[in-house]
Structure formats: C-alpha cells, structure tokens
C-alpha cells in the first residue's frame, strides 16, 4: 500500500504544485481587486470569500458572482484566472487519469491487493507456481476439493484467464517472476498455513529455483516439482524435495500399465480422477496382445517413452516423424502422418496399435482419423495437449486418450489430498488385473460409480480424541468393521471401506472387517462424504465411540459414570 501512495505522490507532484500556485495567485488577486457593494461603496472580498470563488470556478461548478455582483475590474481578472485555473485543473485530472493507466501503478495496486489477500488467508493453503495447462488443472481440482491456494505465474494472460475461471473461492493470483524468492514470500511461502509448494512451470530452471527457495526458506515443507529433463529431475531430487514428477515418464508409465494390467489402469484412473468423475462403465482399454506392429507417430519425448513401452511388451515398432528421426533397426518414415501413403508405408493395415504423440492436437486428430479409416480395428492411443480440445477428443473416441496436464495434476493431487493415499496408489500400481478388478467392483458396490472420497487419520489424541479415550479406558480393541458402523444405529453400515492400515513399519492393504485396531495405528478409508462425517463423529466423541463399539453402559457422560461407580461400591 505504501508503494501505491509513494508512486501517486511522486507522479502528481508537478500538477499539485501548479494547482497550489494558481490557486494562491487567483485567491490573492480576487481579494485585492476592488469591488463594490449594492450601495456602490468600495468593498474587498475577504481571503476566504476569494478562495471560495476560486474553488468553485476552478472546478467549473460556477455558482456565479457571490456575494455581490462583480465590478468590471473583478470580471476582467476573473476572465484571466478562469483560463489559468481550468488549465491547472485539467492538468491535474489528466495526470491522475494517466496514472491509473500506468502499468507500474497498476502493478503496485495489484501487488498490494495480493499481499492483503495472502495475509488474510488463515486456513491451510497450497502455493502453486506456474499456471500452464498443468497448473490450471491442478488449481481447478484443488478448488473442487475445497482446498485453498495461492498461485503465481510469469505470464499475465494466464493470470487473467484464471481470474475469469469460475472458482468457488476467490484465490489470490499474482503475475510475477516465480524465480525471485521475494515473489514466493509474497505468495505466502513463509506463512505457517502454507502446507506445500507445487512447482509446475514449463521451464525446468524455474521449478528448480522454486524448489531451492522453498527448501532453504521453509526446510521440511513438502515440495512437488515438475522436471522435464532427467538431469533437472536428478538435481531437483538431490534437494530432498517431496516428489519430482516428470510428465514424460508418468505418461510412459501409464501406457505401460494400461498394456500390462488394463483393470489396474482403470481403477487408478477412477481413484485419482477429479471429484465427481465416474468409473468408466465399459471395459477398460484392452490393448491387443503381442506380437504385432505399433506405429508411433511423432517421435518426440512422449513418443520415445511410448515406443520403449511397446517394445518392452514385445511389439514391433514403426515410426513416422516429421523431423525425420532415424532409429537403426526400426522402420522410419519422414512425414506428417496424416496422409494415406505414409500410413500405408508403415503398414497401418496390419498394425495393431497407433500412438499419436505430437504437440499439436489438430495433427494428432488428423493422424488418428486417417488411420481409423484405413484400419477400423487399430487400437489408438492419443496425446491430448490442450484441455480446450477435450470435446474433439471425446467425440473422436480413441481407445485411450492421455492428457499430460491431467496426468500431472492427478499425480500432484494424489500426493496432497490426504496422507497415506500416495502409498496406497503406489501399492495399487504394482497389483495385477484380477486384484484391481475385484477392488474396483467391491468399491463400486459400496459407493457407486462416482469417484470415492479418501480420508485418513491416526488413532491418537490429536486426530481421534474420542476413540482413543474409550480405548484407554480399557475397552476391547475395535475391529476395522466397527469403523463403518453408523453413529445413530450401530447395526447400520455407512458406505466406506478401509483400504490401508499402517502400524509402525507394517502396512496392511485392504484390512478385513475382523482386523483389530490399536492405539497409534493409521488408517486410510475410501467412501462417501456422509460416511466420513459419520466416522469423524465417532472419532471425536467418546460417547458415540462407546456406543458404536457396543458398550451401552459406557455410553454415558462422566457424571453418570462416576455415579454408577459409587452405586456399585
């Protein structure tokens, strides 16, 4: 705010001094020029009357000749000062208007507003650096999950685009260079409410800069950094940040997973999907089994990942690349890929799969449409670059569409949403088809098609004060099954499923209903929000916990318990 004030005053110094001088001159002149009262006696305006006249004349209000009609001398002088005053006034107003248009001034205003908004954030929030496709996707998901965040980007247009987004909560967004630690401090890095930093810029150097700043200024704060090149990923990991995500590697891993275990892929996509996303009702993408030929169109960084994945799976690989990449031992064609001749050359009729991996959505669609016409049975995996192309990709209906921003965003969110979720998802990734199918179906039976909510807690005094109170009173250990009992009628079940139990170094996946729970255990649940609310009632309230665990006598207040004890004696 001080900046704004200083800039204003500095810019307006000249017009203000001019106005003061012109006003002083006019006031003095009006008070000195002789006038006449109605009786014709000589009369002089007082300084105050002169100032009053000058004020309403300068601002073009023009109340007229007050208090008595002017003499000709007064009118002559008035004519002169009107020109002076109007020029001075116009100069001042013009300066103010041009100041409000001034970029420096506007930036100072925006900066001041941003600082205030960040300072008033009193809930936990995330700091998002970089508002490209990935950043915007992350921000949208954070907003939908009800998390607060602040965001910084170097590009003013992206910041403006985010301001136009329909976010449920107003988030402070700043247009500034994320590489400067001052910007990060402004965006709330030093506030204790800042729970994590997400460095999602498209430039690796910027992400590294953010990671370094965060590691030095807030040691121990989780940092999730995007790193495109392996070298940068290595140097970012060396900082000890929480997780480094490479969009290309994640992309390749998804394709490889879909190839190895389609049901696991489907389950993961459902679990990590945006809130409200549905379980794909149809069969998961069944990639044809090896042997066969795959065509990779666009052999960039994504194409290389996918090519490696299909080769590992035992397929033969052919490449179409506009820049003419030559890989020894592979059939390579230099072309765009959308024409029938080049597609025939790499054998589209006999190929079983096609990947379109260029950074241009139109080109990808063109290739896919051409290939589908030549070979209706070909399995098509597409890379979607822009979120805005969603409608075209949905209409085309490729067998698998992967949007790198979406993948990055779901990765980040999985890490942030709740503790233990990342561990659970890592565990799911290693599972086979059958396990994933069984889990997907049992979850679906429990919570419906919509993506389940995840929540986790530790059984200790902080997160489950009510339950640990009951446990300490010597009740029998509750079983996992008791956690899904309704707090209102304990025979009823709330729709939730325990998916992970962590006890010290041990991890137990999908613990059965009969597994006992002890103090200090950590649990991850999946289910509906109602189930979560129901469970938090039991965790926080000792009486509810006692009721749910089935001990009617303990389900009373402290006074009644003491009274009963006294009676028993």
């Amino acid at each position: 705010m001080q900046d704004v004030f200083l800039i204003t005053i500095r810019r307006l110094r000249a017009p203000l001094i001019l106005i003061i001088l012109v006003f002083a001159f006019s006031t003095a002149g009006m008070a000195l020029i002789p006038g006449a009262d109605p009786q014709g006696h000589p009369w002089h305006m007082s300084i105050f009357q002169a100032f009053y006249f000058v004020t309403y004349t300068a601002t073009t209000i023009g109340f007229g000749e007050i208090p008595y009609p002017f003499t000709d001398q007064q009118r002559l002088f008035s004519t002169l000062i009107i020109y002076l005053l109007v020029i001075g006034w116009a100069y001042l107003v013009g300066s103010i208007l041009s100041l409000t248009q001034d970029r420096t001034f506007q930036q100072a205003l925006v900066g001041a507003r941003f600082r205030r908004a960040v300072a008033s954030l009193s809930e936990p929030f995330y700091l998002v650096c970089g508002l490209g496709e990935t950043g915007v996707t992350v921000v949208r998901m954070l907003d939908r999950l009800g998390f607060r965040f602040t965001a910084v980007d170097r590009d003013e247009r992206r910041v403006q685009a985010l301001e136009l987004e329909q976010l449920s909560l107003d988030a402070p967004v700043l247009y500034a260079d994320v590489r400067s630690p001052e910007t990060l401090a402004m965006a709330g890095l030093l506030k204790p409410e800042c729970k994590a930093v997400l460095a999602l810029c498209s430039e690796d150097e910027a992400n590294l800069g953010v990671s370094i700043a965060a590691c030095l200024l807030r040691p121990g704060l989780p940092v999730i950094a995007r790193a495109d090149s392996p070298a940068m990923a290595a140097s970012t990991s060396a900082l000890g940040v929480y997780r480094v995500i490479s969009p290309f590697r994640e992309f390749g891993e998804r394709v490889a997973l879909a190839m190895r275990a389609p049901d696991t892929y489907r389950l993961l996509a459902w679990l990590t999907g945006a809130p409200g996303s549905h379980l794909p009702p149809s069969q998961p993408p069944r990639i044809p089994a090896a042997p066969g030929r795959w065509i990779v169109c666009g052999y960039g960084r994504y194409g290389r990942e996918v090519g490696a994945a299909v080769q590992r799976a035992g397929f033969e690989l052919a490449i179409i690349d506009p820049s003419g990449a030559e890989i020894p031992g592979l059939l390579c064609v230099k072309a765009l890929g959308a024409g029938a001749p080049e597609l025939r050359e790499v054998g589209v009729e006999i190929a079983c799969g096609l990947f379109t991996g260029s950074d241009d959505d139109t080109a990808n669609l063109a290739v896919a449409i051409a290939a589908r016409r030549l070979n209706p049975d070909i399995f098509i995996v597409m890379r979607q670059n822009l979120l805005s192309s969603e409608i075209l990709f949905a209409r085309f209906g490729a067998d698998m569409t992967l949007a790198p921003p979406q993948i990055m965003a779901t990765e980040c969110l999985a890490l942030l949403r709740t503790p233990l979720l990342a561990e659970f998802l890592d565990l799911v990734r290693a599972k086979d088809n059958l396990w994933a199918y069984a889990l997907a179906e049992s979850l679906r039976a429990l919570v419906g098609d919509e993506a389940p909510l995840f929540w986790s807690f530790a059984i200790d005094d902080d997160e489950a004060p009510g339950l640990s109170d009951v446990l300490r009173r010597g009740k029998d250990a509750p079983a996992i099954g008791d956690f899904s009992r309704s707090a209102h009628a304990r025979e009823d079940r709330a729709p939730c499923l325990a998916v992970l139990l962590v006890r010290g170094p041990e991890t137990l996946e999908l613990p059965g209903d009969e597994v006992g729970v002890r103090l200090g255990d950590r649990l991850l649940f999946a289910g509906r929000r109602a189930a979560k609310d129901n469970q938090s009632l039991m965790l926080s309230n000792a009486n509810v916990a006692a009721y749910v665990l089935g001990d009617r006598r303990q389900a009373e207040g402290w006074i009644w318990r003491t009274f009963e004890k006294a009676l028993a004696r």
Binding site: L6, I9, R10, R13, I17, I20, A24, A28, S46
Partner: protein
C-alpha cells in the same frame, strides 16, 4: 548548479522567512501581523510539503514531518483567524495572541526544516 536543489532550498527558506515575518512583533498588536503574510506563509508551506513528498531517505522523512507540522500549525492559525475575527476586520488581542502563538509553533518546525537543509547540504562532499 542543480535547479531542482535551488528551488527546493528556496521554497524551504521562503517558508521560514515568511513565517518569521508574520510572527515577528508584539503578540497582541494587530499592526504587527498581517493576514496576507499568513496567507503567503501557508501557501509556501503547502508547496514545501508537496515538494518533499515521495522522498524515501531518512533525512527526507524528517523534512517531510517538519513541513507537515508547520503546515498544520499555519492552517490552524488560519482557521482561528477565520472564526475569531469580526467580519472584515482584524481579530482582537485574545484571538490574535492564539493565532500568533500557533504561527510561532510553525516557525519552530520551519526552523528545524532549515537546519536539516543546512546539515544535509554541509555533509555533501562537493
């Protein structure tokens, strides 16, 4: 020679001298205190305040504060004149003594301003 510095020193000195000219004389004697001198002193002080705006140095901040004090005192003196003087006449001895003492307060602040100006000038190397 820097024209900006000349103007700055000129305004500050003029503010102090005009202020002194108004205050000088018997405190209750209307013949020694003229309304026009008060008007001029107030105007020049107003210019001085605006000139000093936006200076972020420590010495600049003290200058600014001194000028603001002087302006406030002079404006108060002006209001006293406006409300206590009978129409189209000079104020009585009681009113005039309040006006002059307010202006004398402004003179102290203006004096501080001049001292700072001299100190600031003398610590310059060239």
């Amino acid at each position: 020679m820097n024209l900006e510095k000349v103007v700055f020193a000129f305004v500050i000195l003029l503010a102090a001298t005009l202020n002194f000219g108004f205050v000088y004389g018997g405190v209750e004697n209307p013949a020694h205190h003229h309304i026009w001198e008060l008007f001029a002193a107030t105007t020049v002080n107003l210019v001085a305040v605006v000139l000093k705006f936006g200076d972020r140095t420590h010495i600049g901040a003290v200058q600014q504060a001194a000028s603001l004090v002087a302006l406030l005192q002079l404006l108060a003196a002006g209001f006293f004149w406006f409300f206590l003087a009978p129409k189209d006449a000079t104020p009585g001895p009681d009113a005039l003594s309040s006006i002059v003492s307010l202006a004398a307060g402004a003179l102290v602040a203006n004096g501080v301003s001049v001292v700072i100006l001299i100190v600031d000038t003398s610590i310059q190397r060239r």
